[in-house]
């Protein structure tokens, strides 16, 4: 068992901040790495130390194994936490850390390879007796794609072999769409993972996406921390997650947990990890893939189990044994996470980068926010559009939903469009409230008209008009320039908001 001296966090955004908080709570200093676009990013401000590693494109900074290892050497960091995305499931990076004598806070490079290559993971799962979705067990290319597609049948899912996070994922309804979808998926996969291999799976209709959180240590112990329900997705990316799943029976929960622990033990997995399953209407779980890293939606599990998964990752990497056994764990209450993206839900979730001109976040009981931004931050165009995660916990599912609605009502972000109004629609939708939904929920919702407050526009227009009147009068009577008239910072970024008389 070793004790780390300093941890470098090879990531950005909310997960980098999340990991640094865990470091600080464990009494460990943290080192941020940052690209040229991220000098003022929150993770740089929260870290104890910070090292610039390259230009804005992630390929030239956050994905540069050499730069990250140099930063660790330079700062004396003896462990690296990769967060999710970027280098988190890059076996070569894990191996490079191992070779450099730096602890990679994650599984062995071998586990990453086994599970990271999705077709290999499917083969191992089959060998371990875990059922998988029918499809190809190997990546396919060229003419074989059409042939295998015909064998499996439509609709089917086209997936990146090196994939994760919805990138390079395409639902193909029929043979006519196949060629275009393959081109798009390979392009996205190449750009996201540097690997354009794809494979095919039968699309499970009316499926729910349910995943199981696991932990394994260096001493052969493994537990599961129950499930997360992740069926609310747009563009095949999760927007809302919760735990427990309203769909699982206690028996199915125990069964899926046992399957997950069996696979973890079989591969000697050492870290937090997640096994993703599709569960069809017949309540039959099919293993999809295993994510060998912390998951975006890990907070819902933390809130219902009372344990800190990121601290546990670090402690496991130090060689500590798991501090609890399976029978010590229980789900208490219900937790829901809503992801806040800088996207415009009224325009097909188009990205909406820009400066966060004004921001008021909610507070109070049963609420957690894991944010990667702050008022005044310019959200870069180079990275993922997730700004923040809002998580609500309550004694019951209904209480958690009501709490989330209350929190969303308090939340205000101006300057970019966000998914706040969209997740509010989800929270008040009768099917969501009833727990009656599957992965097609978001598509169905988009087709329904939103019933917003019909008269609220009057308040909005009145507020704007009064503000204009007050601004005009103030400008007339302004005795002198106010607000340290245009520091470089003000001049560069806030011009449109400040000063210019209408």
């Amino acid at each position: 068992m070793r004790r780390f001296k300093k941890i470098l966090v090879a990531n950005r955004g909310e997960i980098a901040v999340r990991v640094m908080r865990a470091c600080r709570e464990l009494g460990l200093p943290s080192v941020a790495v940052f690209s040229e676009a991220d000098r003022t990013a929150l993770h740089v401000r929260v870290a104890d130390e910070a090292v610039a590693i390259g230009p804005a494109p992630s390929r030239e900074s956050y994905l540069r194994v050499d730069r990250v290892l140099e930063a660790a050497a330079e700062t004396g960091a003896d462990a690296i936490h990769p967060g999710y995305g970027f280098l988190a499931e890059n076996a070569a990076f894990a191996r490079a850390c191992e070779d450099a004598g730096i602890a990679f806070i994650g599984p062995t490079s071998e586990s990453i390879e086994q599970m990271g290559e999705k077709t290999s993971a499917r083969r191992l799962a089959v060998e371990a007796g875990v059922p998988v979705v029918p499809g190809t067990l190997e990546p396919v290319a060229g003419a074989a794609i059409a042939r295998e597609a015909a064998r499996i049948g439509f609709p089917l899912m086209l997936k990146a072999a090196a994939g994760g996070g919805g990138k390079g994922l395409r639902l193909v309804a029929g043979p006519g769409e196949l060629a275009a979808a393959v081109e798009r998926a390979q392009g996205e996969a190449l750009s996201a993972f540097g690997d354009d291999r794809v494979y095919l799976e039968r699309a499970i209709v009316k499926a729910r996406h349910i995943e199981v959180q696991v932990l394994g240590d260096h001493h052969g112990a493994a537990v599961h921390l129950f499930e997360r329900e992740c069926s609310i997705q747009r563009r095949h990316q999760k927007v809302v997650e919760e735990s427990p799943s309203p769909f699982l029976t206690p028996e199915l929960r125990a069964h899926m947990g046992a399957l997950a622990v069996a696979l973890v033990k079989r591969i000697g997995y050492r870290n937090a990890g997640t096994l993703e399953f599709l569960v069809g209407e017949d309540r039959e779980p099919y293993f999809l893939e295993m994510n060998t890293r912390i998951q975006v939606e890990h907070p819902v599990t933390e809130m219902v189990t009372g344990h800190d998964l990121v601290q546990l990752q670090i402690r496991i990497a130090q060689g500590e044994p798991l501090p609890f056994a399976q029978e010590d764990l229980e789900q208490r209450g219900h937790a829901i996470e809503c992801r806040i993206y800088a996207e415009d839900p009224d325009r097909g979730f188009l990205p909406s980068p820009g400066r966060l001109l004004a921001l008021r976040a909610p507070g109070g009981p049963g609420l957690r926010e894991d944010s990667g931004v702050y008022e005044g931050f310019e959200v870069p165009v180079h990275y993922d559009s997730m700004l923040s995660k809002l998580i609500a916990h309550g004694a019951t599912r209904e209480a958690a939903i009501q709490r989330m609605r209350r929190a969303l009502a308090e939340y205000k972000i101006l300057g970019v469009r966000t998914t706040l109004p969209f997740v509010d629609r989800v929270m008040r939708h009768p099917d969501f409230v009833a727990g009656d939904f599957d992965t097609s929920f978001v598509a169905r919702l988009a087709a329904e008209p939103d019933r917003a407050d019909e008269e609220l526009w009057r308040i909005g227009v009145a507020a704007a008009a009064i503000r204009l009147l007050e601004d005009r009068r103030a400008a007339q009577h302004a005795p002198q320039p106010a607000e340290a008239a245009g520091s470089a910072w003000t001049r560069a970024g806030w011009r449109s908001q400040l000063g210019n008389r209408l």
Partner: protein, 164 residues
């Protein structure tokens, strides 16, 4: 002060009178008594007929964006034209310019000059924030010009393509 306000494709005439936090706002034939207090550089508290509203209000080039619980409005404000109220602006006829809705990179151009396209048909694919986004034809027409090439970086509002 009399203004023409437009938001969400609607236009209304607005009259505002008052001072020191007490205002009378008439819009669309209805008068609101508003107790308005700034609560920060970009926030205000409004009490209207006893009801409490919390508004985020930021300056934009042609008006303000107002965030209320459950809705955000981009409100354009202009001093009222003399005489009649604002008329519904007719959609300009003629060519339609497709502009970049965000900064990013053109990944693929799907349309070619001279091609006849349907409303909703994909014209090009832009990458921003790690996602590929297909930009679709706002109406049916013929592609007159394509002004960008693949792998080209563009800013918000950059002209991408003209449809006629």
């Amino acid at each position: 002060m009399i203004l023409d306000a437009s938001f969400d494709g609607r236009s209304v005439r607005v009259e505002v009178r008052g001072e020191a936090g007490r205002y009378r706002v008439t819009l669309d034939g209805q008068t609101l008594e508003v107790d308005y207090q700034r609560t920060g550089r970009d926030f205000a508290s409004l009490l209207v007929d006893g009801r409490s509203y919390e508004a985020g209000i930021v300056r934009q080039p042609e008006g303000y964006t107002v965030a209320l619980t459950g809705a955000t409005y981009d409100v354009e404000l202009k001093d009222a034209a003399r005489g009649a109220g604002p008329s519904a602006r007719a959609r300009p006829a003629g060519p339609v310019a497709l502009k970049a809705p965000m900064p990013g990179k053109v990944v693929r151009v799907l349309a070619t000059v001279g091609q006849q396209v349907q409303a909703g048909e994909g014209l090009l694919v832009m990458e921003a924030m790690k996602m590929e986004n297909e930009l679709k034809a706002p109406r049916a027409g013929r592609v007159r010009e394509v002004l960008v090439g693949e792998r080209q970086a563009v800013e918000t509002g950059a002209l991408l393509l003209v449809l006629e």
